[in-house]
Assembly symmetry: C2
DNA sequence: CCTTCTATGTATGCACTGCTCACATCCTCG
DNA sequence: CGAGGATGTGAGCAGTGCATACATAGAAGG
């Protein structure tokens, strides 16, 4: 625990990430400015630049955290899904996450994932691997790449269409039903699970 | 054609949209500022505000144009798709459009489609209806809402995953093959076309 | 034809932003 | 204990969105 020494913050990097995350949740991505983060962390406007070379880097770090959080959220929905129903439950959790954290979710996908940011690349790769693993386990006889790509794309697209108001997202149940139905429809085309 | 009268531009609104579109294609969404648009249109920094109440409105108008362009692009891929293969061709065109105009595509979906902007809402509704109509025609016996939602989400998700570099988009052929395979897989689960 | 009204463009200015650079402070380690 | 590097501060620049007051021109009506 950092003592109340005025000058050095103690863990400014973490404080910046937390502040950025809060700003994102409260007022959306437009409110996520370096200076606002600094204000919220109770620090001078340029202090965050000691930990993040530029705004891009801050956003990428927040996004990376978002990926980790998403992975945890999915795992919580079902640790090792194997049946189509279990897989659909994970899909519902994915869309739920997007709807619960719209600004964060957009930050995670709005800008191109610059290959320069290793943390971010690694985090997205982890999600990708997670989905692939699930599909491989559930459908060992299918072409895993094609099927997991299709599943991820379907779920990802559903998340965005709900976010954009193209699909009614007013009740959680309706969203869940829609996502489940779409995923099960896609999986119906795959070889039946063993 | 407007004469070279210095003061009044002639059709500044259209010029702004064109300039904004160019800036988007050239340097991405960050370069799309009111002032940059004004500069490119050869007009004072605040002139565009006569035609767009704020930046949001300008972006929404550009996005609306993008939706119309996308609709045209899809129709060009196949005017009235009925078979799964034809439908897949339209899907490929959708993803192609996203990859050819990444910044525009992101502008179309990055921010929540505020229900206030009628032009934008109408434009997205048109695309939605277009997809629905295709699916209804191709699969008259399926639940049209569920199936068209699933198809759109799949294709939309594929577009974003390619945009974000999660799927290799280096060659157009590879992208097309992947999209086709995913769409045909999904459609395999639907009642066969008559 | 001349006035007036309104749409459209201009000029100025404020608050804010990302970012740079010079400086201050503190912790660590030789 | 003293040097040096890490971390924070401060002032300042260029650029932004936008509001407000002003200028201009083309159309409408006498």
């Amino acid at each position: 625990m950092p003592q109340a020494s005025t000058y050095h913050h103690g863990d400014l990097r973490a404080a910046c990430l937390r502040a950025a995350r809060e700003l994102l949740e409260e007022d959306g991505s437009a409110a996520l400015s370096m200076r606002a983060v600094a204000r919220r962390a109770g620090v001078s406007p340029t202090a965050p630049y000691r930990h993040f070379p530029d705004r891009e880097a801050l956003v990428s770090a927040v996004a990376a955290g978002g990926y980790r959080e998403l992975a945890g959220h999915l795992a919580a929905a079902h640790p090792e899904p194997a049946t189509p129903d279990e897989l659909a439950a994970v899909a519902v959790a994915y869309v739920r996450f997007a709807l619960d954290h719209p600004a964060l979710f957009r930050a995670m996908f709005a800008e191109p994932c610059d290959p320069g940011n290793e943390e971010r690349v690694a985090a997205t790769a982890a999600v990708s691997e997670y989905v692939r693993g699930i599909v491989r386990r559930a459908y060992p006889d299918a072409a895993p790449d094609a099927l997991s790509t299709a599943v991820w794309a379907l779920v990802h697209g559903l998340a965005f269409l709900h976010l954009d108001g193209k699909l009614d997202a007013s009740t959680a149940d309706a969203v869940a039903d829609r996502v489940r139905a779409a995923v099960l429809a896609l999986l119906g085309a795959a070889p039946a699970p063993r």
